[in-house]
Amino acid sequence: MIYTLCFILIVVGLYGIVVKRNIVKIIVGFVIMDCGVHLLLILEGWRHQGEVPILQKGMDLTQFISRAVDPLPQAMVLTSIVISLGILALMVALAIRLHERYGTFDIDEMRRLKG
C-alpha cells in the first residue's frame, strides 16, 4: 500500500517535469519525484515494529537480527538527500540566471537553440 503511494508520488513528480512549462513548477516536480524515490528507498529497509539497529552489550544476536530494521537504506537516503540538495541548489541558481536573461520563467519563450 505504502509502496503504491510512493509510486504515485514519483509519477506525480514525473508529470510535473514533463508537462509543466514553468521552470519553477518543473523544479517542484523534481523535488516531489525525489521525495518519492527517497521514501521508496527507506521503505526497503522498513520492518513492522522494528528495533533501532544499534547493537548493545548483552543483546541476543539472532534475535537482534530478526527484529532490527535494515540501516543501510537509511545511510543511502541520507547521501541521496544531500546529492539532491546540491542539484536543487544548482537548478534554482540556473532558474534565477535564466530569469535575469529572458525575463520569464516560461520555457516556451526560451527558444534560442534550434532543432
Binding site: 524515490v37 537504506p73 541521496s80 546529492i83 539532491s84 544548482l90 540556473l94
Partner: protein, 494 residues
C-alpha cells in the same frame, strides 16, 4: 625504474578518485593568491592521472575501501575493461586540459573551471572503477553535476538554456537509476555487483527485475543519449566551452552511459536474447536518426554533436550483437570515437577562437588561414567517416563484419549506409569551412595559440596510433581484446 613500475596498485587505485578531488579543493582555495596556479596545478594533476592510468593496464585488482571485507564495504575493482576506460578518460582529459590553458582565457574564473573539470574526472574515474551500485550512483552524480555547471559556464542565453535542459533530463535519469538500484537492493539485499550477480543467477526472472532493468536502460540511455532519449545532447554539447564539449562527447557519455550499461548487463544481470535485441534496436535507431539529423545542420559543433549520437549507436550496436567480434568492435569504436570526436570538437573550438563564428555558411578558406587546424580536421573527418588508414575504419569494419557473421544482414547494411552518410556530412564541413573560397564576412583571423595546436596535433597522431591496435590481428586488436574478454566472461562470481 623497475621498482617504480612495480608499484603496489592497491595504493594507486584510490588515487584516481582522491587526487582530483583534493586538487579541485586546493585549486579553489589557493588560486586567490596565485593567478598562475589553476593552469599549472590542474594540468599537472591531469598528467599524473593519465600516467597512472597507463600503469593499470592489464591488471586485475580489487581494492577494499577502508579495509572492509567484500560484502560489507565498498570495493573498487580494476580489470582490463576499467583500465581501458581509465586511459580514455584521463588521457583525453589531459589533452583537453592542455587545450584549455589558452582557450579558457576568453572566460573568467579559470580556477572554478579547473575545479569543476577535476570533479568531473573524479566522478568518471569513480564510475569506471566502482563495484558497488549505490557508489556508482554517487559518482555518476558527481560527474553529472560538474558537467551541468560546465555546460552553463559561459552564462549566456543559450548556455543557460542548454544547461537547464541537460540538468532536468540528467537528474531525471539519475532518479530513474536510483529507483532501479533501490528495487535491486530490495530483491537481493546487496549492493556489491558480484554479490548481486551471484544472487540473481540463482533467482528466476521476475517482474520487479524486468521493471528495474527497464528503469536502468532508460536512465543510462538518457545519460548516453541513445535516440529516444537524446534530446538534451545537441543543445548541451555545442553550448559548452570547446574542451568541455570534447570531454562530454568524447568521454562522459561513454563512461557514465555506455560503459555502465555494458558492465551491468554483461557482468551483473547476464545478457538474454531480449536484452541484446533491445540494445541492437537502440543502437541502430540512434545510428540512423543521429546521422539524418546531423546532415542538415549548419552549426559546426551542433553537427558534430548529432554525430556523437550516431557513433554511440555503432558502439551500442556492436555490444548488442553479443558475439566476441561485435563486442571487440564496439569497445574499439568506443576508444576511437573518444579520440576523433574530441579532436573534432577541439578543432571546432579552434575555428571559433580564430574566426569568432562556427556557422559553416559564414566560414571559408580556412585551409589557407589556419593550415594546421585544417589538416587535423581533415584527419578527424576521415577517421569518423571510416577512410582506411585511420582508426574509425577498422572499428566500423569489425562491427559490420560482426553483423554479417551473426546473420544480421540488415543491421550490417544500415551500418554501411550510415557510414556513407557520415562521409557525406563531413564532406560538407570540409567544403564549406576549409576548401571554399574565403568568405568576405570573416573579419581578421587570429592565430591558434601553441597549447591549443599542441593538443590538436597529439590527438591527430592518436587517430593514426590507435589504428595500429589491429597490428596484432584484425579480429584481436591489442588492449581491446582483454577488455572484451571481461564482458564475454559473463556474470562475475565471487
Amino acid at each position: 625504474m623497475e621498482r617504480f613500475l612495480s608499484v603496489d596498485l592497491n595504493l594507486v587505485i584510490p588515487l584516481f578518485v582522491a587526487l582530483p578531488l583534493t586538487m579541485a579543493f586546493l585549486i579553489l582555495m589557493a588560486s586567490r593568491w596565485l593567478r598562475w596556479l589553476p593552469d599549472t596545478l590542474g594540468n599537472l594533476t591531469l598528467l599524473a592521472l593519465a600516467g597512472l592510468s597507463f600503469l593499470c593496464l592489464g591488471h586485475n585488482v580489487v581494492y577494499h575501501m577502508g579495509d572492509w571485507i567484500t560484502p560489507l564495504g565498498v570495493d573498487l575493482r580494476l580489470d582490463p575493461l576499467a583500465a581501458l576506460l581509465l586511459i580514455a578518460v584521463n588521457g583525453i582529459g589531459f589533452l583537453a586540459g592542455v587545450y584549455s590553458i589558452h582557450y579558457m582565457r576568453q572566460f573568467t574564473s579559470k580556477s572554478r573551471y579547473y575545479a569543476l573539470f577535476l570533479l568531473m574526472i573524479a566522478g568518471m574515474n569513480g564510475v569506471v572503477l566502482t563495484a558497488d551500485l549505490f557508489n556508482l550512483y554517487v559518482f555518476m552524480e558527481l560527474a553529472s553535476v560538474a558537467s551541468y555547471a560546465l555546460v552553463g559556464f559561459g552564462c549566456q542565453h543559450e548556455e543557460l538554456e542548454a544547461s537547464f535542459k541537460y540538468l532536468v533530463l540528467g537528474s531525471l535519469a539519475t532518479l530513474l537509476v536510483l529507483v532501479g538500484v533501490a528495487l535491486i537492493y530490495g530483491m537481493t539485499g546487496s549492493l556489491n555487483m558480484a554479490h548481486i550477480a551471484t544472487k540473481l543467477s540463482a533467482m528466476p526472472s521476475t517482474k520487479p527485475l524486468v521493471f528495474s532493468l527497464a528503469l536502468l536502460i532508460c536512465g543510462f540511455g538518457l545519460k548516453s543519449a541513445l535516440v529516444p532519449f537524446h534530446a538534451w545532447l545537441p543543445d548541451a554539447h555545442p553550448s559548452a566551452p570547446a574542451p568541455i564539449s570534447a570531454m562530454l562527447s568524447g568521454v562522459v557519455i561513454k563512461a557514465i552511459g555506455v560503459y555502465v550499461l555494458a558492465r551491468l548487463f554483461f557482468n551483473v544481470f547476464g545478457v538474454t536474447p531480449t536484452l541484446l535485441w533491445v540494445l541492437q534496436l537502440l543502437g541502430v535507431v540512434s545510428m540512423v536518426v543521429g546521422v539524418f539529423l546531423a546532415i542538415g545542420q549548419w552549426d559546426m559543433k551542433r553537427l558534430f554533436a548529432y554525430h556523437s549520437i550516431s557513433q554511440i549507436g555503432y558502439v551500442v550496436l556492436g555490444l548488442g550483437l553479443g558475439t566476441p567480434l561485435g563486442i571487440i568492435g564496439g569497445l574499439y569504436h568506443l576508444i576511437n570515437h573518444s579520440v576523433f570526436k574530441s579532436l573534432l570538437f577541439l578543432n571546432a573550438g579552434a575555428v571559433e577562437y580564430a574566426t569568432g563564428t562556427r556557422e559553416l555558411k559564414h566560414l571559408g578558406g580556412l585551409n589557407q588561414s589556419l593550415p594546421l587546424t585544417g589538416k587535423t580536421t581533415l584527419i578527424a573527418s576521415m577517421s569518423i567517416a571510416g577512410i582506411p588508414p585511420f582508426n574509425g575504419f577498422w572499428s566500423k569494419l569489425l562491427i559490420i563484419v560482426a553483423c554479417l557473421q551473426s546473420g544480421h544482414y540488415w543491421l550490417g547494411g544500415w551500418a554501411v549506409f550510415v557510414s556513407l552518410m557520415t562521409l557525406a556530412s563531413f564532406l560538407k564541413v570540409q567544403k564549406y569551412a576549409f576548401f571554399a573560397a574565403a568568405s568576405s564576412t570573416l573579419g581578421t583571423i587570429r592565430k591558434v595559440p601553441f597549447f591549443m595546436s599542441a593538443s590538436l596535433v597529439v590527438l591527430a597522431l592518436l587517430c593514426l596510433a590507435t589504428a595500429f591496435a589491429v597490428i596484432t590481428g584484425l579480429s584481436t586488436p591489442a588492449f581491446i581484446t582483454p577488455a572484451a574478454d571481461v564482458l564475454l566472461k559473463g556474470v562475475i562470481t565471487l
